[in-house]
């Protein structure tokens, strides 16, 4: 057996890479959705001074390359603030914020999709702000947002491959290592691509199930 051959151990390597990719994806998704939701709520309530800041920051995050953002966070911030940052920390921070920017836009549209008239009715009947948010806005905004969110998250899963550049041992980085060892780029990258594809399909499937369940429990005729 030559050093350059594929070995059974490579499967474990691939699984480890996939694990890192998924862990990072899930972590940044949870953080990103939480921040995005919070921004949308703050935006909705027109808290003084917050709106322009939120809009400028999210626009910047949405309209610049994630790789540039990653370099800014990994190389720029430590140099500027004289702090140390590990590749995983930089990757988590960057992708969380990037996901948050997209999630913010979707949650904001979801909130805005709820008719003002219903909110008027709820106010007149004495419901307070948090009751209106929880009982009137949230259920409708969520049903509205799930589809677009799943679309964005499938995309963000692919975006995580960029973190291999700053040295996180994710699936793409493992692909790089295998490629350099075996010098069989066609096979290596086809397999890596297939694994991403399957993960994305699985994610879209789960998202579709969640969306169907939500629409079932709120089976009014279309939004």
């Amino acid at each position: 057996m030559r050093y350059a051959d594929f070995t059974p151990y490579d499967i474990i390597l691939l699984l480890q890479g996939l694990g890192v990719t998924l862990a990072l994806f899930i972590g940044t998704t949870l953080i990103g959705l939480a921040i995005g939701l919070m921004l949308a709520v703050v935006h909705h309530y027109r808290i003084p001074g917050c709106r322009p800041v939120i809009v400028i920051v999210t626009e910047a995050l949405k309209n610049s390359p994630v790789l540039v953002q990653l370099f800014l966070v990994f190389f720029g911030i430590p140099a500027f603030l004289h702090i140390r940052m590990t590749p995983v920390e930089a990757a988590t921070l960057t992708i969380s914020l990037n996901t948050a920017a997209f999630a913010f836009v979707i949650f904001r549209s979801g909130i805005e999709s709820v008719d003002r008239d219903q909110i008027d009715a709820a106010k007149v009947f004495g419901l307070n702000r948090s009751q209106i948010l929880r009982l009137i806005i949230a259920p409708q905004a969520t049903a509205f947002a799930v589809g677009p969110l799943v679309g964005i998250l499938v995309n963000q899963l692919q975006v995580t491959s960029l973190i291999s550049v700053i040295g996180v041992f994710d699936l793409t980085k493992i692909g790089n290592i295998l490629n350099l060892r075996t010098l069989q780029p066609f096979i290596v990258w086809a397999v890596i691509g297939l694994i991403y594809y399957l993960a994305a399909k699985a994610l879209a499937h789960v998202g579709g199930r969640i969306e169907a369940a939500l629409r079932k429990s709120v089976k009014w005729g279309g939004i």
Binding site: D115, D117, Q118, D120, A121, A122, K123, V124, F125, G126, L127, Q131, L135, I136, P139, Q140, A143, V218, K219, W220, G221, G222, I223
Partner: protein, 244 residues
């Protein structure tokens, strides 16, 4: 008692309500007539606090709607039925009706549902309790809207052009329910274009003209030759409405 004193409402440069004075005693049905854009709906929206006043004062049972605690109490005392129903689309008819009783009045769910079912029964919609608004006709939606308001057991019912979005047949259904409520002694402030109906159920009729309340008369006098009809603008309005 609902008391509006020198109420003014401004949208930008436009003065929509000009020093409006109105009193509604418990048990009265007061109809507000006036052309489109005369400020009728705005007056209702000032009473239920959806618009803030630019001047003057409104109290409901002594609670000033321009203060935070006053508005909470005033909203507790009154309930509104809207022109476009404003139902919550993600909730069934029953859930639409029980939401505020459960969340605001803190009624137990079973009690709120029993109350809602009794109301739905009264308006002929027992079979539609679990239907979503989208599955109901306009007339049925408005009847749910009325039940939603009545479930709060308000002292005052504010009705904002509740039949304007309905066809004549559905309008009849809704008006019959309102007539029954009026006969039960429910206090109502009724913004409408249904002149004949207003004449039938109202104690008093007030007429708004470009934001000014120009006439406030007992119903019989409003339609008398030497009463409301003596005002050219009202005569013109009534004859025009009859033609339509």
């Amino acid at each position: 008692m609902i008391v509006a004193e020198n109420v003014e409402k401004r949208f930008g440069e436009t003065l929509v309500l000009k020093r409006v004075n109105l009193r509604v005693e418990p048990g009265e049905v007061v109809t507000i007539l006036g052309a489109s854009g005369s400020g009728k709906s705005t007056l209702i929206r000032c009473i239920n606090g959806l618009e803030t006043l630019s001047g003057g004062k409104i109290t409901v049972d002594g609670h000033d709607v321009s203060t935070k605690t006053g508005l909470v109490a005033a909203r507790r005392a009154s309930a509104t039925v809207f022109q476009l129903f404003n139902l919550y689309p993600h909730m069934t008819a029953l859930q639409n009706i029980t939401l505020a009783p459960i969340e605001v009045l803190k009624l137990p769910k079973a009690e709120a549902e029993a109350r809602a079912r009794a109301l739905l029964d009264r308006v002929g919609l027992s079979a539609q309790a679990d239907a979503y608004p989208q599955q109901l006709s306009g007339g049925q939606r408005q009847r749910v809207g009325i039940c939603r308001a009545l479930a709060m057991q308000p002292r005052y019912l504010l009705l904002d052009e509740v039949t304007s979005a309905l066809d004549p047949e559905m309008t009849g259904d809704v008006l019959r329910i309102l007539a029954a409520l009026a006969a039960d002694g429910t206090t109502m402030v009724f913004v409408t274009h249904e002149i004949e109906f207003a004449r039938h159920i109202s104690n008093r009729i007030v007429f708004l003209e470009q934001g000014e309340l120009i006439v406030d008369l007992p119903t019989a006098q409003f339609f008398a030759e030497d009463g409301g009809l003596a005002v050219p603008r009202i005569r013109q309005f009534l004859s025009k409405m009859k033609k339509d």
